[in-house]
C-alpha cells in the first residue's frame, strides 16, 4: 500500500534540499536562471519582499498564472507563499501542484491569532521561526521544514543571524537538561513538551532549518551555514542585484563550500552591486514582518 503525505514523505522532501539555495522568482525566465545556476528549488512570487515593502498595501498569494508559469519553466521543485492562516490560499496552491507551501509572514497575515493545521495537507509546509518556542509550535502544527524569519526584503542579515543563533543555543540548552527540568523549559519557551523531549533525545530538530530573511551576498549565505543553517533562502538578494545570473551561481557555491574562504573570496570578486540594504531600526510596527506572527 502506498501512502502519500506522511511525515517521512513531507519532511524527506526538505531533507533533499539540504546544502542548497532556494531562490525567489517572479516569472518563468527568472526561474530558469535560478535552475541553471544550481538552485535546489524556487519560490514563485508576484513580487520579491523588497518590492512588497515598497508597494505597501495588502500582500496576497501570487496569481496562479505565475505559479503555473514557473512550474512549467523548470523541473526543480516550486514553492509558493500563502498568507498566515489562509486555508483557502494554501488549498489553492496545493491543487495547482506547488511542491511546498510557505505559510509566510512576508505576506499580510489573514489570521492574526492562528496558524494553519498543516498536518491536514498532502503538500508539505515551511514556516518561519525566531526562537525554539515558535519553531516547535510550527512543527506541532505540522510544518515539515523551518526557516529563520530574519527581516525579509532588507538585505540586512542581522535578524537572521539573531534567530539562528538563538534557536541553536536553545537547542543546546534543551539537550543538556534533565527530564524533570524539561517541562518548565517547555512552559518558558511556549513549546510542546513532547517535541522538546524528541529534540533532547535526538540532539537536533526533527525537521531541517534553513536561513532566510536578509541574505544578500555569498558571504552572507556562508555565514548562515556556519551558524548551523541546513541551507538558505535568498529572496530579493538575487534578482535585485546587478548581475543576477553571476550572483546566483556565487551564492550556490558559497553555500556548498561555506568554509572555503579562498573560494568565497574568489566568488565575491566583481559581482557588481548587491541589493541596496536597509537599516532595520528604521522599521516600526507592521513594517517589521517578523513580528507579524508568534
Amino acid at each position: 500500500m502506498a501512502e502519500r503525505g506522511t511525515d517521512r514523505v513531507k519532511r524527506g522532501m526538505a531533507e533533499m534540499q539540504k546544502g542548497g539555495v532556494i531562490m525567489d522568482v517572479v516569472n518563468g525566465e527568472q526561474a530558469k536562471i535560478a535552475e541553471e545556476a544550481g538552485a535546489v528549488a524556487v519560490m514563485a512570487l508576484e513580487r520579491v519582499p523588497s518590492d512588497i515593502r515598497a508597494a505597501g498595501g495588502v500582500a496576497r498569494m501570487a496569481d496562479p498564472t505565475i505559479v503555473q508559469e514557473v512550474m512549467d519553466a523548470v523541473s526543480i521543485p516550486v514553492m509558493a507563499k500563502a498568507r498566515i492562516g489562509h486555508i483557502v490560499e494554501a488549498r489553492v496552491l496545493e491543487s495547482l501542484g506547488a511542491d511546498y507551501i510557505d505559510e509566510s509572514e512576508v505576506l499580510t497575515p489573514a489570521d492574526d491569532v492562528y496558524h494553519m493545521d498543516k498536518s491536514e495537507y498532502t503538500v508539505p509546509f515551511v514556516c518561519g521561526a525566531r526562537d525554539l518556542g515558535e519553531a516547535t509550535r510550527r512543527i506541532g502544527e505540522g510544518a515539515s521544514m523551518l526557516r529563520t524569519k530574519g527581516e525579509p526584503g532588507t538585505g540586512n542579515i542581522v535578524e537572521a543571524v539573531r534567530h539562528m543563533r538563538l534557536i541553536q543555543s536553545q537547542i543546546r540548552k534543551v539537550i543538556g537538561l534533565s527530564k524533570d527540568e524539561l517541562m518548565t523549559e517547555a512552559k518558558n519557551l511556549g513549546a510542546p513538551y513532547e517535541l522538546l523531549l524528541q529534540i533532547r533525545d535526538r540532539g537536533r530538530l526533527p525537521v531541517v532549518n534553513f536561513a532566510a530573511g536578509g541574505i544578500a551576498t555569498p558571504a552572507d549565505a556562508a555565514l548562515m551555514m556556519q551558524l548551523g543553517a541546513d541551507g538558505v533562502f535568498v529572496g530579493s538578494g538575487i534578482f535585485k542585484s546587478e548581475y543576477p545570473d553571476k550572483f546566483a551561481r556565487a551564492i550556490v557555491e558559497a553555500t556548498t563550500h561555506y568554509e572555503d574562504y579562498e573560494l568565497i573570496a574568489k566568488l565575491s570578486k566583481g559581482l557588481g552591486t548587491a541589493m541596496t540594504g536597509m537599516d532595520i531600526s528604521q522599521l516600526e510596527g507592521f513594517d517589521r514582518m517578523q513580528d507579524r506572527s508568534q
Binding site: 500500500m1 502506498a2 501512502e3 502519500r4 503525505g5 506522511t6 517521512r8 514523505v9 524527506g12 522532501m13 531533507e15 533533499m16 534540499q17 539540504k18 546544502g19 542548497g20 535552475e35 545556476a37 544550481g38 538552485a39 535546489v40 528549488a41 512550474m71 523541473s75 526543480i76 521543485p77 496545493e94 501542484g97 506547488a98 511542491d99 511546498y100 498532502t122 503538500v123 508539505p124 550556490v252 557555491e253 556548498t256 563550500h257
Partner: protein, 196 residues
C-alpha cells in the same frame, strides 16, 4: 576497516552517513575529488540532480568519478544519484556520468503531492524494505548487463550492474538499514577481490 564515502555536494548526506555507520566502516564526507583516492566505495545521495550535476562539473568530479567506477569500486546512487549514474535521461540530450547502462525518467511520478512511501521487495535484500519515494525517478529501460532487483507497479526502481547499484527511492530516510548493508557487502566483496 572499510572506508565508504558520501558525496557531499548537496542533499541528504548526514542520513546516508548515519545509515552506513558500523564498527568496521569509516564514513568519509567527500567534498573534493582527491578524497576519492582514500575510499573503497561511494554513495551518491538524494538531492536535486540538476544542482548536483552542476557542482560535479564545477568541482572537477566528473572524470575522477568515472575513473573510480572504472577501477571497480562500488557506487550506490539513490534518487538524484541514480539520475547521475544513468547513460540516458528521458528528454535530455545526454546522460550525466553515464556509469550504468539504463534510461531514467526524472520526476516520473509527478510533483511532490504524488510522493509516497511503501514496502518493497528487493531481490537479495528482503521482501519488506521500507521505501520513501520523493519526486522520484524511474528506470524505463536497462541494458543486458543490468540486473533488475526491484519493481514497483511493474516499473523498475532498483538496478545493479556489477559493482554499481542504484535505486529511485530514499533508503536513508528510514531506520531500515538492510539495503545499506547490502551495499556495504558489495564494498566488502570488491575489497576482498582486490586483496586476493
Amino acid at each position: 576497516m572499510m572506508k565508504i564515502g558520501v558525496l557531499a555536494l548537496q542533499g541528504a548526506v548526514r542520513e546516508h552517513a548515519k545509515s552506513l555507520e558500523a564498527p568496521d566502516t569509516e564514513v568519509i564526507i567527500v567534498k573534493r575529488p582527491e578524497q576519492l583516492e582514500e575510499i573503497d566505495g561511494l554513495v551518491f545521495p538524494g538531492g536535486e540532480s540538476t544542482t548536483m550535476r552542476r557542482l560535479v562539473e564545477k568541482y572537477q568530479f566528473f572524470e575522477p568519478l568515472q575513473a573510480f567506477a572504472k577501477a571497480g569500486k562500488p557506487i550506490f546512487g539513490t534518487c538524484a544519484g541514480l539520475i547521475l549514474m544513468a547513460t540516458d535521461v528521458v528528454g535530455e540530450p545526454e546522460g550525466h556520468l553515464e556509469l550504468m547502462d539504463m534510461t531514467v525518467q526524472r520526476n516520473a511520478f509527478g510533483r511532490q503531492r504524488e510522493s509516497f512511501e511503501t514496502e518493497l521487495s528487493i531481490r537479495g535484500v528482503a521482501d519488506d524494505v521500507e521505501a520513501v519515494f520523493i519526486r522520484a525517478p524511474l528506470i524505463t529501460e536497462v541494458g543486458q548487463d543490468v540486473e533488475v532487483l526491484a519493481e514497483y507497479k511493474d516499473e523498475i526502481v532498483v538496478a545493479r550492474q556489477d559493482h554499481l547499484l542504484s535505486c529511485s527511492f530514499h533508503p536513508e530516510l528510514t531506520n531500515d538499514r538492510r539495503f545499506h548493508q547490502y551495499f556495504v557487502q558489495m564494498v566488502r566483496e570488491a575489497q576482498t577481490a582486490v586483496n586476493v
